[in-house]
Symmetry: C2
Subunit: 340 residues, 2 copies
Amino acid sequence: MSTLPPAPRRVTAAMVAERAGTSIATVSLVVNGKARGRISDENAARVLAAVAELGYVVDGAASALARGTSDIVVLLAPDLPNPFFGRVIKGVQEELGSRYQLLLSAAASGAQPNATDVRRLSSLRPAGLLVSAPGPDFLDDLPTGTPLVLLDAPGLEARAAVVNYDLAPGVEELARHLAERGHRVIGYLDGATPAATYLLRRELLREAAARHGMTLLADPDVRSGPDLAEAAAATLAALPAWREAGATAIVAAADTLAHGVLAACAEAGLRVPEDVAVAGFDDLPASAVTAPSLTSVALPGDALGRAAAHRLLALIAPDEAAPEEAPGPLAATLTVRAST
Amino acid sequence: MSTLPPAPRRVTAAMVAERAGTSIATVSLVVNGKARGRISDENAARVLAAVAELGYVVDGAASALARGTSDIVVLLAPDLPNPFFGRVIKGVQEELGSRYQLLLSAAASGAQPNATDVRRLSSLRPAGLLVSAPGPDFLDDLPTGTPLVLLDAPGLEARAAVVNYDLAPGVEELARHLAERGHRVIGYLDGATPAATYLLRRELLREAAARHGMTLLADPDVRSGPDLAEAAAATLAALPAWREAGATAIVAAADTLAHGVLAACAEAGLRVPEDVAVAGFDDLPASAVTAPSLTSVALPGDALGRAAAHRLLALIAPDEAAPEEAPGPLAATLTVRAST
DNA sequence: CTGAAAGCGCTTACAG
DNA sequence: CTGAAAGCGCTTACAG
């Protein structure tokens, strides 16, 4: 049996204080970096030594209770395992630094982040909350009191702190690119969740297509969750109607979906790009090695994460905020590959 | 400015108690489901009503402090955004149910989970800890006291609760498959981190290759992190030596790496599988649509996650543990596709 | 069945 | 510069 050794007594501030010959208050001040001009150098050194010797770590629960807030930042997202999210997480971590601890939470399976998720997470008293691609009515029932930044939530700018991509340039590039290749009708595979960003991707593409004399087939909706097999099945089901409508290109709302489109085309015996062109959104790493390599509207995940974290830090501590906003450009660009 | 409305006073058990006309203790008992035979049905109902009216949620920090443990289960992993991990997370969540809240934490960028990470996370007083692919000396300096299950940590079975894949069958299948295709020398692209699972993959493959009269080129090591471009670069650098040694196949320790191998082969003008065969581990969804589609040792991520969570629940509450262990088979199998 | 009270381990005015 | 003490919001014996 893999029994752990008997739990050694948790080291408390009281134990550190006793060892250092100071009060608990002094320990607290020192370990929280508030000793400046309040604690003698000698006592501070004694505390630090005792901390090191005993391996003391401030109890997060007690600290959060006393201060009213922890140093946890929670990132709530609908589709954590999506490779796209890796970049976002990295960007958030880089910007957050070591003062806050980033914890990730996946929304209830397959669903979008909602107010209930936030309520549950709020009981942890997080220092801040980052929510990616929230549902449309996310803000309506939201428990407030925790600094909150939404990512990828177009349309909610007026009601919350939001960090969005500038999708327009990339979508415009994609439309122009397809028009130049002679396409006139485009099938569209949408995401299954009603995230505002999906809505926007579709509408922007519809408009851009129209500007270039093309038609986007998005009615009736063809939708799929992020699962490749599901996307492939949805595509196979839609293919006859799309072909009949004259579609020579298929755009998917995300690369994970576009991978399913590629699989479906292979299964249907359609050559890409000769019989049908395919493109996606995100520009995932794997999209460089698909058969054929995938044209995609590249979304800079790390920049999004960094901008969101920057924004959140400003909400948490308005005074300490870095002077320059400078979150870097969040403009989408088009990566052209063999699939178009 | 996206100012949030003034924070409404946090609802406390005291407020619920006052509204329900009971004591705080009664509220606690009811919301924690410990009312059975201790609280009159009437009072319980009054509490529940007050809870609903006020939207009360137990304060996690205070609860954790009082009980000594929260209901958070932390999953610590080196490479959260790896699509392979999505399945694992899903499996864990399914098995964990709604009683515990799963939070994910990425190990210090690019590194493996270590004792320091655990110490930091332990201050949250998690109910349990799940650690994926820990470093080799992970257990040496580990703060104990929290139920802990390791996933994908071969070799540590004797010293901790561990849930591992049975890699041997899949590796044997891969070796036999390659031998049947006439390969005699195999290049190996290893993972950059010294995770025990990577070590094991390589050693098992080396042994299986030998059994089938093949040689695995793993000395000197060729290694790469999970980034596709990095894996491609490592492959390009190693290719001349591999080719010179007569390698006609390349196996990568993970599909994310194998995708880089595919990219490198394309860049080097090598046809897959005619000039060189390629295979990986994990069987990621995208591996079904790569150019060419990728042969891979399939690792059932959801089964791993479910087994780990099952094991952890048993450690947290040995009495409540489900009678049947039955975590499902964790045997690796080979998915053969066009790349070999 | 119920509630008063101690205690979880901190942080932060406050008094010195 | 320092420490005693109140308080954060729960949970849990304990006494009734």
